[in-house]
Every structure is written in C-alpha cells, then in structure tokens.
C-alpha cells in the first residue's frame, strides 16, 4: 500500500488538485483505445459527495464503489492502467444509468457521457459469467425488435387469460425458477385483446387548423405492450392540431443498446431510425418513452467518429421532443374536460434527469380541470426499471421498486402517472408484490390522462381502462 502521490512535505502526501486529472492514459489497463471515458471529464469530479444520496445503489448499499463518485474513481484507475476485474466490471454494471447524479452534481460532471463510454469498454473487454451472457443475448434478441415482441403477445396473453398465470403465481413455482425468468414473467403487463395492438394508420390528420406536422416513434415495448399509449398520443396530437406521421417500418431507436454499451448494434438501429424520419417530412419527432427520447436526443454524439453521419444524426436529434414538451410548446387549443382524480406523477429518470423534462408533464396535468396533482417523496430516486436493468439485476431492482411503490401509495392518489413503459411495468410489479394494498391504484401514461380529458371520458371509465385493473 502506498500514498498515491509522492511526498513534497516530509510525510504529508502532496496536494495535487481535486480528483486530480488522469496522469496518462494507459491502454494496457482495463480500457482499450476506442472511445475511453474522457480523462478531462473524469477530472471534473471534485469528490464532494453531493451525488451519493440520489444514487439508487448507494441508497441501497451505502458503499463508495457503488456510488457515482466511486465509479468515476474506478474509471480513473482503469484509465491509469488498473486491469478490468470482475469487481470493477460489476460496479459499472450495477449502475442503473438513471442520471440522478447528473442532476445533483454542482460541478457539472457529465457522468452520462462517462458511463456510456465505460459500458462500451466493459462490453468489449470483460467476459461476464455464462448465465449473464446468455441472458443479455436473449434480451437483445427480443426487446429491440418490435415484431418479435408483438409475436410474444399472443402466448403471453393466452397464458394470462387462461388463468394459468394466477395458478403459477399462487403455486410458488416462480420462486424456484431462476430470478430473472421469474422477473420477466412478473413484469409483463396485463395485455388487452390483440385488436388493441392493431397498427396505427400511417397518417393521422389534424383536427381543425393544422399547426404542425410531427412524426411519432412507436417504440418497441411501448408498441407491443402499451399500444393504448401510442394511440392516445396520436389522438392527443391530432386534437391539438398536428398532422401525425407514423412510419410503418420504424424499428428500435437503439436506446437499450446504447445504454448497455452495445455501440455497433445501437448505431445500426439509430441509422435506420434516422433514415426513416429524415424522409418523413416532419417538423418534430415525438417520443412518448423517456429512454428512447433521451438517447435519440444524443444521436449526434453516438456518431461522433463518423463526421457525415454525425451531422445528419445531430440534425434529426434537434427535432426530437418528448410528447409533453411538444404539447407545451404548441400550447393548448383543444378543450380540457374535467377529470376528477388525484394523480401522483412519477418522474421517469430518462425524462427528468436525462432530458430535464419535469415542468411540462406537470403543467399538462395541472391544466386538467378537477385533477389534483400530488408529488411523490424521493421523486429523484430511480424505481429500478432502468431499461432492462430489472431483468439483469433483480436483486437491486426489486427493493428499489418496493421503495418507489411505498412512496407512491403514501400519496393516497387514485392514479400513478408516468411517461415510460419500463417504469409502469416495474412499479406495477412492485404493487403486485404488495397484494391488496397495491391493487388499489391505477396506472397510466401522462398522455392517456390527457386523452381522457380531451375526449371527455368520465374518470371512472378512464380508471377502468387503467393498465393494472384486475
């Protein structure tokens, strides 16, 4: 053991700056030379610790190496030549990528960029245990492929409708299955009849005067498991005066891949999405899933080493908006009908922390007559969904989900509203674990609530339509 710095004042370690810059990048360590985390960004961290209380893994475990500043420390070591060990990779993998630390950091450390670069390094330079590898392959062979997900709907719905799900859940057999399979089973939301998953038309015309032409990203999980959200989005946009273009052949935006260090795959998906919407003739690309929106806004950076593509990517990224942003930008024209419900609004991490979109959804909800908005305690802490994190790390995701569910129920609201399909599934699962206490609350996407108000659907009907109604 030694002090990290040689001595200039007798036995005192010499002062060398803050979390001092990386001495020199050593590619013989954990990281290769392809886009290592930027040493200058690592050096921005002053080690104040303000990020710790908002970091979900620090909240859970109280350990430095599973905190943002601890992970930055690990990155610094890796850049300086520390080898990629199981423990190092494990602490990077344990990060949910919720970016609450980016919001909390007073020094402006760009942890989002750092962890993204690091994930790519882990993906290339670390061999995970076999089970983890197989699981990841299975996830990435399914989730980013809307068509494959839609194919899953049939068997899943049959399973749910047959009553087999109840039997299986009651039998306790799930407890004997590997946690991840049990988690996958439990996360699938109750699915409606297949008619509800019918594809949307390619163009929905504006009601009244056209104010904008927008494209709609239908997403993978959103499209397959929550088709009602896409339909509601299209209706609301049309009622607010938008021509909505919904390209039929759009694929995955690449968010799951980019958030898990699968750079080449992410680029492949992103390129296709860019091409699809470039030619769609739209002024805005509207996204209703927080994770998708956040990574699409960063398309420019994804192609940083391909100048020509980077330009096109950045141009498209500039058009991307969350549905709540676009609706607030446009301003309301359609009539809001009363909806007498109490709503707890849950900030999806990739909307609040990654995109800074907090005010707009609240503004939209508050503008609905009769609706009462309640804030959730610890709103900045992730629910544990985090893309596919709840499938990869259920041991961490489950207690976070329980914590979120308890805070949501404490609001006493009728409906939990959020803007991300992952959060909906994650919190729904946590509610289900609570049994009767959890089933009292309905769940919806922000735009579904707005849709109900615009179409004057009575609150009761709306709640009957809720995702979790048993």
């Amino acid at each position: 053991m030694s002090t990290a710095h040689s001595s200039a004042h007798g036995d005192q370690p010499v002062m060398t700056g803050v979390v001092d810059g990386v001495a020199t990048f050593d590619p013989s360590g954990a990281f290769d030379e392809h886009r290592p985390p930027d040493a200058a960004l690592v050096g921005d961290c002053v080690h104040c610790g303000f990020c710790l209380p908002t970091c979900p893994t620090y909240v859970l475990w109280g350990e430095e190496m599973d905190s943002p500043r601890g992970r930055i420390y690990l990155m610094k070591g890796a850049l300086e030549g520390e080898p990629m060990t199981d423990s190092m990779a494990g602490h990077f993998d344990a990060c949910l990528g919720c970016m609450a630390c980016v919001t909390a950091c007073p020094s402006g450390v760009q942890y989002d960029k750092l962890i993204e670069a690091t994930r790519g390094q882990v993906e290339r330079n670390h061999r995970r245990p076999l089970r983890q590898r197989l699981l990841r392959e299975a996830i990435f062979a399914t989730f980013p492929h809307p068509r494959r997900l839609r194919l899953l709907r049939g068997p899943l719905r049959a399973y749910q409708a047959s009553g087999l799900q109840r039997v299986v859940r009651r039998s306790g057999v799930l407890r004997r299955l590997p946690t991840v399979i049990a988690t996958m089973e439990s996360l699938a939301p109750p699915l409606g009849p297949s008619s509800s998953a019918r594809p949307l038309p390619e163009r929905v015309s504006a009601r009244g005067t056209r104010r904008a032409t927008v494209g709609l990203l239908t997403g993978c999980v959103q499209g397959a498991f929550f088709p009602g959200v896409n339909a509601a989005t299209a209706r609301v946009l049309a009622m607010e005066g938008c021509d909505v273009v919904i390209p039929r052949d759009q694929g995955c935006c690449g968010a799951l891949s980019v958030h898990n260090g699968r750079e080449a795959e992410a680029k492949k998906f992103a390129r296709a999405v860019i091409e699809t919407f470039e030619s769609a003739g739209v002024e805005r690309v509207v996204v209703n899933a927080a994770g998708c929106g956040s990574s699409m806004k960063e398309y420019g950076e994804l192609f940083a080493d391909e100048p020509e593509m980077a330009q096109r990517a950045a141009a498209l990224a500039a058009l991307v908006r969350d549905v709540s942003e676009v609706l607030v930008e446009l301003g309301p024209v359609a009539q809001r009908h009363p909806l007498p419900v109490t709503v707890a609004y849950h900030d999806a991490c990739h909307l609040a922390h990654a995109q800074g979109v907090r005010a707009q959804p609240r503004e939209l909800l508050n503008a609905i007559p009769g609706l009462e908005l309640r804030e959730i305690a610890e709103s900045e802490i992730c629910c544990g969904s985090a893309g596919v994190y709840n499938l990869l790390a259920p041991h961490a995701a489950e207690p976070l989900g329980d914590r979120k569910a308890a805070n949501v129920l404490a609001t006493g609201a009728d409906v939990l509203v959020t803007a991300n399909p992952g959060c909906l599934m994650q919190v729904a699962t946590a509610f289900r674990r609570r049994g009767a206490a959890g089933s009292a609350i309905a769940m919806a996407h922000t735009v579904e609530v707005l849709d109900a108000s615009l179409r004057a659907v009575p609150a009761e009907t709306f709640q009957k339509r809720s995702l979790l109604q048993k």
């Binding site: 053991m1 002062m15 700056g17 002053v46 402006g108």
Partner: protein
C-alpha cells in the same frame, strides 16, 4: 506509527480474516480497486489507500473491529459519508477504515422530548426530514447536509449557515454511545442536558476520531420556527456588505444566518445552479431571520434598512419556500460549483472577529493581486473566491488554481496558508468548522505553543494510549504516548506541578 511501520502484509491478511468472521464476507473490503474508492474524503488533495475497509452495521461490530485492531496493533480511522474538508477521514495506509455508512437507522425521534437518537451514518438532513411531520428539525446545517453524516458532524464539530444563532454540533449533541480506543462500549451523557462531572462529551465532540468512534448519537430537535424570512441583498463590494453585517449585529438583531459571497463565488454559483443573483454585484448577502412572526417582521424591516444604509443596490425578498431554496442553492453549492470556473481549488476555513472582516478581505485581495502576504513568499495572480458565514466571521476562501500548470498548486497552497496567518494575526482561528484533520495539522503550531499541543496530546493519550485511533490527525508531529514530548528535556511543567500526568 513506529508500531506499524514494519508491518508485514501477512499480519493484515490475518486481521482481514478475523474481521470477516465477525462482520461477514461482504462487509470487509480488500480488493484493490474497491479500496481505492475510499482513498480520500471530500478533500481529495490527500489520498492514502487503506489496507482494509470494513462496513459494520452495529455497535457490537464496531467494537469487535476496534478490539481486533488493538490486538494486532493496527491503526484505524472512522469515516461517515466521506465529505469532510480537512482530510479527517484520510485512511492509514496500513490500517483499517471503519465506514459507518451502513449504520443509518434513526432509532428514535422523540419530538415532545426534543431529542432524536440516531446511528452515526444517518445523513444530517434525514434527521430533519424525520422530525418534520411533528414540526421539529435538527439545527446544524453544513452545506453538505444532504449527504454528510451525523457521526462525521460530531467528529468535526461541524457548523453551518445557521450556527450564528443556534451554535455548532457540540451545542446539539446531548449524548453519545462510543467505542473507546480499547474496544470498550461507553456512554457519555444521554437525553438530559448538561450531566454533572467533567464534560467528557464536550471533549469527545470535535475530537476528529482520535478519542473513539461514535456508534449512537442523541441530538436535540428544535421546534420549527413560526416564521422564516429570507432576503438577498446585492452590494457594490464586500466592504459595503461587511458594513451591513456589522450594523445588523450591532443593532441587536440576531439573524438565523448571515452569509456573504463575493463576485467570483457568485460567478461560480451562477454557472452551476443558475441561481439568478442580481447582475453586477460585487457581493451578496443572504440574511435569514426566524422566530415568532411579530419579532421577525419587525427585525426584517430593520435588516433591510441597514442593507440600504450600506449601499445595497437591490434587495430581493423570498416570497415562498421555493424562492428561499433558490437563494440558498447558490450558497450551498458554492464550493463544488467553483469546479465550473477553475480546474482545481482549495477550500480554506478560517475564523476572524466579525469586525475585522473588511480589513481581512482587503488583505486577502492583496494576496491574490500579487502583493506579499505575511510570512509567505507571496506569489501573485492566484484568484481567491470568498464565501463565508459573515455573521460569525467564519471565512471560506476558495483558492483557485490549475494543477496542470507547473508551480500553480504550490502557489495556491502558499496563499491558502497565508490566509490562515491573517486569521491568526487578527485574533481568529485556523478552522471554523471543517476541523484540523490531516490538512491543518501543520498549521497548529502557528496557533498553539508546544506546551498547548502537549497538553492536548495528554488528553488524547488518556483515551488512546496506543495511538491507534486516527493517527496523524490534528497534531503536527505524531508521537507515542510514552514518548517524552517535544523539545522538553526535563519533566513536563504540568506534570511537575501535579496538574497532569505523563502516561
């Protein structure tokens, strides 16, 4: 420490194995990369990788760790959230770092009795949050209150913006359970105020981990004030702002907090949190009054008058809690925010008499403008941002530098030391609330004589004769308790006069 200098890794392996049997596999860290994440606290200039990190959950586990360290003669250092700014939790290279971040239960909130009993790893702000539903809060509020731990606050006797009116941590701790340096579990005080006998609790609070490890802390809860009013006043320079502070205090108004930031600190805060302070201000004051509504109302008018009399060109009054939070956000983020305007910086902490504020600020400005500082080879051109608890004269100059420019770090440290000399020259102190830790041990002789330091050392040795508890902190020249201290050749004067005994 001489006892550990030749320690072989094998001894530490044996200790780690023993600790694993007591705490379990997951609570003992020896993996190099994991250890390195613990090599510094909030003062990242100093880094020492510990040999072993342990994460105990209970008092009994802490005691077992300390006993094991005593048996193996291995030094140990306690650490809470790792946000300290004096390197108080800097590890020993051949020692154990005892991290209390998993001892984070609030054991009791007794609002009618105005006390809370908490584990040492509980975050400062969480105490107030737990007491809030009953209308109570915990008063000491370091700027890092969202993350710093009560155990760390106790060790460093931390202050905060509201200490002007409410006092420091020591005024808010009535009892502590601690593991003494020999591993014994001891209770000092309790829920009652001011127990009879020697004030051992007073000695323990602020002892920076050298007298034992706190494992349970009983703190005061205060009734949340009926009214709180906060204003932000902008002045042409720190001179006028300092004048306003003196006028307010001289008028007999005791604000809950009076905070000042100079232009450079404002620039940093703006860059970080967009607090939208008035444009062109050479200094801003944040003045907060709390208490019974009629009193606050009357005094608030008086405060505004004193600000205007001292050339405040804009006064903003927080209309609600959101605006108040925004005023404070700029101030509380200031340290870390400086990272936005400078690659590296030193946070200094010194105290001067409030009345000397304008004079000392001019001297600091002179130091950074390149004039020679007192007793230092005054380098020039080093920028100093100033943030302070103006009401009680607690300065936090932030010395900015770029480590990648050769010589800048040394220059900055020289300026930083010269500022402390100024504090002593004006009758102040080398630390207000961050503690001495590793960082300021070298400045202790500037403030205390050898006799003073030897006397303190004797108190320490009474608790920790083996010198294993947080060695190398507070005292400039660590020595064994049996050693004849300092330059004294004969019997220590205090020992000769029977006042004290050399162990």
């Amino acid at each position: 420490m001489a006892t550990t200098a030749q320690r072989r890794p094998r001894d530490l392996d044996r200790l780690a194995a023993r600790l694993r049997t007591v705490l379990g596999e997951g609570a003992v860290i020896t993996d190099r990369n994991r250890l390195r994440t613990y090599e510094c606290d909030g003062l990242a200039h100093y880094k020492v990788t510990p040999a072993i990190v342990v994460l105990p959950h209970t008092t009994a586990e802490v005691a077992a760790v300390v006993r094991a360290c005593v048996d193996e003669r291995v030094p140990y250092v306690a650490r809470g959230s790792g946000t300290g700014l004096s390197g108080g939790a800097l590890p020993s290279a051949e020692g154990v770092l005892v991290v209390t971040s998993q001892m984070r239960d609030i054991l009791e909130t007794d609002a009618p009795g105005e006390r809370a009993v908490v584990q040492p790893g509980v975050i400062n702000l969480h105490v107030s949050k737990a007491a809030a539903p009953e209308g109570y809060y915990y008063a000491p509020d370091p700027s890092s209150q969202q993350i710093c731990s009560i155990g760390g606050n106790l060790a460093e006797n931390s202050g905060g913006a509201h200490c002007l009116k409410y006092g420091f941590t020591t005024n808010h701790v009535t009892g502590v359970e601690l593991v003494a340096p020999d591993g014994e579990i001891v209770r000092l005080g309790g829920k009652a105020p001011d127990p009879p006998g020697y004030d051992l609790l007073g000695a323990f609070v602020g002892s920076e981990g050298t007298l034992g490890i706190a494992t349970e802390v009983t703190v005061r809860l205060l009734r949340a004030p009926e009214a709180v009013r906060t204003l932000l006043a902008a002045f042409p320079s720190t001179d006028e702002a300092g004048g306003a502070v003196s006028a307010i205090i001289a008028a007999g108004v005791l604000p809950a907090a009076v905070e000042m930031m100079d232009a450079l600190a404002i620039e940093a805060a703006e860059a970080a949190v967009h607090c939208d302070y008035p444009q062109g201000a050479g200094a801003v004051l944040i003045v907060e009054l709390d208490g019974p509504a009629p009193e606050v109302e009357a005094q608030f008018g008086e405060v505004q008058r004193h600000c205007r009399d001292n050339k405040a060109f804009e006064i903003r009054i927080a209309a609600d809690d959101i605006e108040r939070a925004l005023f404070w956000k700029g101030r509380k983020s200031a340290f870390a925010a400086v990272g936005r305007i400078s690659p590296d910086y030193i946070v200094q902490d010194g105290v001067i008499p409030r009345t000397a504020l304008p004079a000392v600020l001019r001297r600091i400005a002179a130091l950074s403008d390149g004039e020679q500082g007192q007793g230092t080879e005054g380098p020039s051109g080093v920028r100093v941002a100033n943030v302070f608890h103006a009401g009680d004269g607690n300065l936090h100059p932030l010395v900015l530098f770029d480590e990648s420019v050769p010589g800048e770090a040394e220059k900055a440290e020289a300026i930083s030391g010269a500022i402390l000399d100024l504090c002593i020259e004006y009758g102040g102190s080398i630390t207000g609330e961050h503690g001495v830790g590793a960082d300021k041990a070298k400045y202790m002789p500037r403030m205390f004589t050898d006799d003073d330091l030897d006397t303190m050392q004797m108190l320490r040795c009474a608790f920790d004769p083996l010198g294993l508890a947080n060695p190398g902190k507070i005292f400039p020249t660590p020595r064994l308790c049996g050693e004849v201290p300092g330059r004294h050749k004969g019997v220590h004067p205090l020992a000769a006069s029977g006042v004290a005994e050399v162990f």
